[in-house]
């Protein structure tokens, strides 16, 4: 029986390699590889995720998480810390991918040079970043699931240990590391704006940031966070930003429909801008405030936290924002129907 299991394990690695080779060959042979390459999106996602990791984890913890991905540690505390890191990394990749997609689409829409067909290709290119984010999140999910499985298997152990370590304040990121993390995130955002906007960074900021929606989403998120308060092991910031973004987007969509009813293109375009900018504001809030607070709460809880709401918010809101992006594209290219009049010479 054990010999059979050992043989199956020996076959597992070559099997995986063959599967990977088949997938790679299929993509290359399809001749569409160039259509799946968006280097700036990939750079943004990778750079942003590195910055976000630094805002929540010390360099030692990041290094340990990478080594624990290969070799499962004995200590339950180490397993928990590394599992938390990989879960955060997966979440960050997903949010950053969707954020870049929305930013890039807004810049494409604001800077439409060329025929209207270029808008569709612009959307397709924008969605590539979300694809990268999702693939990278799945890659990070593999070590997370392995570590989480070991953590759950040892749940009956008497000593949890995380609580003590958290109270001692071991190896949390220093303020220097956190600052460096935020600077890296800023650099990623700057690079995203610089590469996509021929009019410069300020023009790109003008296209993507609509101040009224930014104020409403951030003010709403602050109110929600204060209203919910702090639950040990669970920060309400992620859910607060996601809910505020969702509320802002729905307000925008209601205004869009009213604009269609009134046949007013100005109102429709203003409302669609509101939706797009609400999603950007919420995702930015999740990256800059929500995710670091969530990670710190989970760490302080010492048991990985009770993060169901945060997990749901960070998984569902980016998906909803991505769907909104496609809906906005459809609403933009849907012509306004008006009754034809006549004009005499």
């Amino acid at each position: 029986m054990s010999e059979k299991k050992s043989r199956s394990n020996r076959l597992l690695l070559p099997g995986r390699l063959v599967l990977l080779a088949v997938v790679g060959a299929t993509i290359v042979l399809s001749g569409k590889i160039s259509a799946l390459v968006e280097p700036y999106g990939l750079i943004f996602v990778l750079l942003g995720a590195a910055g976000m990791a630094l805002t929540s984890y010390s360099t030692g913890e990041i290094g340990a998480a990478f080594s624990h991905a290969a070799v499962i540690p004995e200590s339950r505390l180490d397993i928990m810390k590394s599992a938390l890191f990989w879960e955060s990394a997966a979440r960050n990749f997903w949010i950053l991918g969707v954020l870049y997609s929305i930013l890039n689409f807004a810049v494409t829409l604001g800077n439409l040079l060329g025929s209207l067909g270029s808008l569709a290709s612009g959307l397709a290119t924008s969605l590539l970043a979300a694809l990268y984010g999702l693939v990278l999140a799945t890659v990070c999910g593999v070590p997370y699931w392995r570590l989480a499985a070991h953590f759950d298997a040892g749940r009956d152990d008497a000593c949890v240990g995380g609580d003590t370590a958290a109270r001692r304040g071991e190896t949390r990121p220093s303020s220097f590391t956190r600052t460096a993390g935020y600077l890296v995130i800023g650099a990623a955002l700057l690079s995203a704006f610089m590469q996509s906007a021929p009019g410069g960074v300020w023009a790109a900021v003008n296209w993507t940031v609509y101040w009224p929606s930014l104020l409403i989403v951030w003010g709403g998120a602050l109110a929600l966070i204060l209203f919910i308060g702090n639950v040990p092991g669970c920060s309400p910031a992620l859910a607060g930003f996601a809910l505020a973004g969702l509320i802002g987007s729905l307000m925008g969509f209601i205004q869009t429909l009213l604009g269609f009813a009134a046949k007013n293109i100005g109102d429709i375009s203003s409302a669609l801008t509101f939706v797009l900018s609400s999603c950007v504001a919420a995702l930015l809030g999740m990256i800059l405030v929500g995710a670091p607070l969530e990670d710190r709460s989970a760490w302080a809880d010492g048991r990985g936290g009770r993060r169901t709401v945060g997990r749901l918010a960070s998984a569902i809101f980016p998906l909803v924002a991505l769907i909104f992006l496609v809906v906005i594209f459809i609403l933009v290219v849907t012509p306004m129907q008006v009754d034809g009049g006549s004009s005499k010479p």
Binding site: W207, P212, I228, P236, T273
Partner: protein
């Protein structure tokens, strides 16, 4: 069922003695200290629950801070709503407005039934040339061309068929596509020969230009770039019908001349006007 109540005075006395409130002073002090510690821990948790950003802040500081933050959030929301409802425009909204107007104009053009277009040009010939284009759905076009020297000719277009009559051809003559394209005065107005042709140019051949801010309504004027000629095109749109009212074409490079150069044009559109059907058929005796 019957409830039995037994009275045991000896046990009652024993319980009264054992549970009396005459604890030794040391034990009472210890118990009071434990209670105090429990109260402090409970209050600390309550403060932590209400302080999401800084659980280490305790007592009145945080309560004061949370009230300030609540006021700030309300002011931020109201300020944002006031800005939005006050009609603040963004560059992105202007851009979406232009794109949507252009798409809607192209769609309205495809639904038009009758069009008349009067075109003037002051370059390319010694004297101003003029065109009068009449189009009737689904696919009949008549183009009357008056050159600067007074020469006149008429083209009838229907699908691939072209008929022409003029000074050299008093009766209408059918031309093939190559012959049709030999006349630069006809080629100059080909994007305007039918609403569908104009819509095709708006959607695919010309590039929409985004420059300047709009007034918040549907864009009254759309600007395009024709990369083939090259030329700048400005299209004035009636915001009630979303149909073009005027088209102006300017050369991008003023020094460029010749047959392939863009002719500066000014076209005025009239929609859904009555056209005599007899005018839309080639003159009698066409060969």
């Amino acid at each position: 069922m019957m409830l039995l109540r037994n009275s045991r005075p000896d046990i009652d006395d024993l319980l009264k003695k054992a549970l009396g409130d005459d604890l030794p002073p040391e034990a009472e002090t210890r118990m009071a200290a434990r209670l105090q510690e429990f109260r402090r821990a409970t209050e600390g948790n309550a403060i932590s629950r209400s302080a999401p950003f800084a659980p280490e802040l305790a007592g009145g500081h945080w309560i004061f801070g949370s009230r300030l933050l609540a006021c700030a959030s309300a002011i931020i929301i109201m300020f944002g709503a006031a800005l939005h409802l006050g009609g603040r425009r963004s560059v992105l909204a202007d851009s979406i407005s232009l794109t949507k107007t252009s798409i809607s104009v192209a769609q309205q053009l495809r639904h038009a039934t009758v069009m008349e277009c009067r075109v003037k040009s002051s370059l390319g010939t010694s004297a101003p040339a003029a065109w009068r284009i009449r189009w009737v759905s689904p696919d009949k076009t008549r183009i009357d061309i008056s050159e600067g020297d007074g020469t006149q000719r008429t083209y009838w277009l229907q699908g691939e068929t072209t008929a022409m009559s003029g000074v050299s051809h008093p009766t209408a003559t059918y031309l093939d596509v190559a012959q049709r394209l030999q006349d630069p005065l006809l080629s100059a107005v080909l994007p305007l020969v039918s609403p569908a042709e104009l819509a095709r140019h708006l959607s695919a051949a010309w590039s929409l230009k985004h420059d300047g801010r709009q007034d918040g309504r549907a864009a009254a004027s759309l600007k395009y770039h024709d990369p083939q000629v090259p030329a700048e095109i400005e299209l004035a749109v009636d915001d009630g019908t979303l149909l073009p009212s005027r088209l102006t074409r300017r050369r991008q490079d003023q020094s460029q001349t010749g047959v392939n150069a863009a002719w500066p044009l000014e076209a005025q559109f009239y929609w859904n006007v009555s056209v005599d059907p007899a005018l839309m058929a080639p003159a009698a005796g066409a060969r």
